[in-house]
């Protein structure tokens, strides 16, 4: 029982960041129909910026995280403007190849800038864990979970309660019609990509002090973000949020009760099952056909 509770707690903490990664990716896919392979690199970028700002530059921890996220938003906007805008109307495969190229280029740039040795981000929380009964968790991880939940809430508010959110959702459903309604599609694309990238950078910046920062950290993250998105259904934002938590739970319980050596494989086995049995994702809205 103790072990069960510990696994649940671990999964919930991890699930929050998976959800951040997932909704960023699914938003970009939903609005722009772009399979964003640079997602993991934005995560890495967020982590390195957090390291740079909090470590060598000595900024306040929370301010450092905030700026790291904003820089992620900025980088996302730049990538959209420089790489994706000229490719509007190009075949999806072409865009995908360009994004894979960008992924490799960004990763090598990180390696060139930071070297291969892992970096550690200092953090202000006590390292003594909080112990509740037989379950324990680091204060830092609680902060990561809370920050992820706040970001998720803010994101939902923006999407559902603002004019900008309506515009995004309209573009999501039909770019042509929404452009007739006066939505500036190009602007929407840049903003969408910037926000999606910012969410990835936020996940990276938040997890940087929990883990260590290395140039290849984004590879597995890109795969996992896709896993989350496929679980929830491509372009389904609520699905991606729940998918994030489901993936974390599956991994944690798979590792805890089946075989820890296959921890990362378990998530992908789950995806294969979903694709076989319910290819539109676990939470696909029923009314959308054709």
């Amino acid at each position: 029982m103790d072990q069960l509770l510990q696994h649940v707690l671990n999964a919930v903490v991890l699930g929050g960041t998976y959800a951040l990664l997932g909704i960023g990716l699914t938003l970009i896919f939903g609005v722009m129909k772009v399979a964003n392979f640079t997602h993991g690199e934005l995560y890495t970028f967020g982590a390195y910026m957090a390291y740079l700002l909090i470590g060598p530059l000595g900024l306040n921890f929370f301010l450092g995280l905030l700026i790291a996220v904003l820089l992620g938003v900025l980088l996302g906007a730049v990538i959209e403007y420089v790489l994706l805008r000229p490719l509007q109307g190009a075949h999806m495969d072409t865009v995908m190849l360009v994004m894979i190229g960008a992924w490799i280029a960004l990763q090598n740039l990180e390696l060139l800038t930071w070297g291969g040795v892992a970096k550690s981000v200092p953090q202000p929380f006590p390292t003594e864990p909080l112990v509740i009964g037989s379950v324990s968790v680091a204060p830092l991880r609680i902060f990561v979970l809370l920050a992820a939940l706040v970001l998720l809430a803010v994101f939902y508010l923006i999407l559902n309660r603002t004019k900008f959110g309506i515009a995004i959702r309209a573009t999501f459903q039909d770019p042509d019609v929404s452009s007739l309604m006066g939505v500036k599609i190009n602007q929407m694309f840049t903003l969408t990509f910037a926000i999606g990238s910012g969410l990835a950078a936020a996940a990276g910046a938040l997890l940087a002090p929990v883990f260590v920062v290395i140039p290849i950290m984004g590879d597995l993250v890109t795969l996992k973000a896709f896993a989350v998105v496929i679980l929830g259904g491509l372009g389904n934002i609520v699905g991606a949020t729940i998918g994030g938590f489901i993936l974390a739970l599956a991994e944690e319980f798979g590792a805890g009760y089946i075989d820890s050596g296959y921890r990362d494989a378990i998530g992908f086995i789950l995806i294969i099952l979903v694709l076989l049995l319910k290819p539109q994702g676990l939470f696909a809205p029923r009314e959308r056909t054709g």
Binding site: N10, G116, A118, S120, A138, V212, I216
Partner: protein, 381 residues
């Protein structure tokens, strides 16, 4: 005339090659990827050794040239680096390739090209047991490490180990270490609890640690790269793991752990093959001191010394073999390797035959030490 011209050309190229050109030594290391830190340290150690050798006149009157290739912590890339070094650069001797999986991937190529390789880090028993007569290993396989641990280090633990758990990286190295240490500990009457594995690029190890916490052992043996060990230490502290942690494999650079894991590293034990903190304890203190001095002169990170010595000893071994062979040719170097006796940073390097009869690999018996991190400092336990 048509026949003599190529002959003359060939003759000229041979003479000019042997007289002036440096002797190439090929090296494949993970300079990027999961185990980049350690691979870079080993490569730096090799560079230091090449400098020291060249400054004292080189070997056979020629300079040494290190040709370093990045195998990206990836077995496929490792084969590509070997292919490039063997067929492109035509090196007469190789050094590499850090990981067991990487080394095992390269080994068939040595049989094809008939070039010896000095193995500086890999510790899977498969490396020397697969009947590859071109392999000469200076690092201890997990079996030797476990044996030496049982003989010299086990009684240093107070209170004594009664029940041990294992957490290893899920590759040839980690699984081999888990098998060998399980065997050794069981033979000493120590109970084995949980044996958990983690993929090399996994960052969240909370599930494994939660399981280990429940297993109720007093000591956790961890075998993995320094990046992942840092995460293990941090997350073990988060989950309040009661076990004392012992890292095996000698690739754990305690100074880097202190820097990156902070106080989560306190209390942990590390098996190392070189103790730069206690230079006088080195089997050949003067060799160790030269290595450390030159390393610092180059401005390399002191945390890398515990890994860097492998590259240094590897080059010293290759150079000695070339010198004894009297020529830089693969088969002659292989023959000479059987008879070298090198005073290395780790200790005496000389090879004994292991593996199937008729196609034995060489294995040197290295020294092994244990250190503890206490209050952010490395001490002898």
């Amino acid at each position: 005339m048509r026949k003599t011209l190529p002959l003359i050309a060939a003759f000229l190229s041979i003479t000019s090659a042997s007289a002036n050109e440096p002797i190439k030594i090929g090296m494949s290391q993970p300079l990027t990827g999961d185990i980049a830190a350690s691979g870079t340290y080993v490569a730096n150690g090799a560079k230091v050794a090449v400098d020291v050798v060249n400054r004292s006149g080189g070997v056979l009157g020629r300079q040494i040239q290190l040709i370093l290739e990045d195998n990206k912590s990836n077995p496929k890339e490792a084969v590509a680096t070997a292919e490039k070094l063997l067929s492109g650069d035509k090196v007469p001797v190789l050094l590499g390739a850090w990981g067991s999986t990487l080394t095992l991937a390269i080994m068939p190529r040595l049989l094809d090209y008939k070039v010896p390789m000095i193995v500086e880090t890999a510790s899977s028993s498969k490396v020397t047991n697969s009947g590859n007569p071109w392999i000469f290993r200076i690092s201890p396989p997990s079996s030797l490490e476990a044996k030496a641990f049982g003989e010299t280090l086990l009684d240093k633990f107070n209170p004594a180990i009664k029940k041990a758990d294992m957490l290893v990286v899920n590759n040839d190295w980690g699984r081999g270490a888990a098998d060998e240490f399980t065997k050794l500990l069981r033979s000493k009457g120590i109970e084995i609890g949980a044996v958990e594995r983690m993929t090399a690029d996994a960052t969240d190890l909370s599930a494994q640690l939660a399981k280990i916490k429940q297993a109720g052992g007093d000591t956790l043996f961890v075998t993995t790269s320094i990046e992942q060990l840092t995460l293990v230490l941090k997350q073990a502290q988060e989950q309040r793991l009661p076990q004392r942690i012992v890292s095996t494999g000698g690739a754990t650079a305690p100074d880097q752990l202190i820097e990156q894991a902070g106080n989560a590293a306190n209390g942990s034990y590390h098996i190392v093959f070189f103790t730069p903190w206690f230079l006088d304890a080195a089997p050949h203190a003067e060799v160790a001191r030269t290595f450390v001095d030159e390393w610092k002169k180059k401005g390399y990170n002191a945390a890398g010394l515990t890994d860097g010595y492998r590259g240094y000893d590897g080059i010293l071994t290759a150079v000695q073999a070339i010198k004894d062979a009297g020529k830089a040719e693969p088969e002659a170097i292989r023959q000479a390797l059987w008879n070298v006796n090198v005073k290395g940073v780790n200790g005496d390097i000389k090879f004994t035959k292991v593996g199937p009869d008729g196609s034995e690999s060489g294995q040197s018996i290295p020294s092994i030490f244990i250190v503890q991190i206490k209050d952010g400092k490395v001490i002898k336990p």
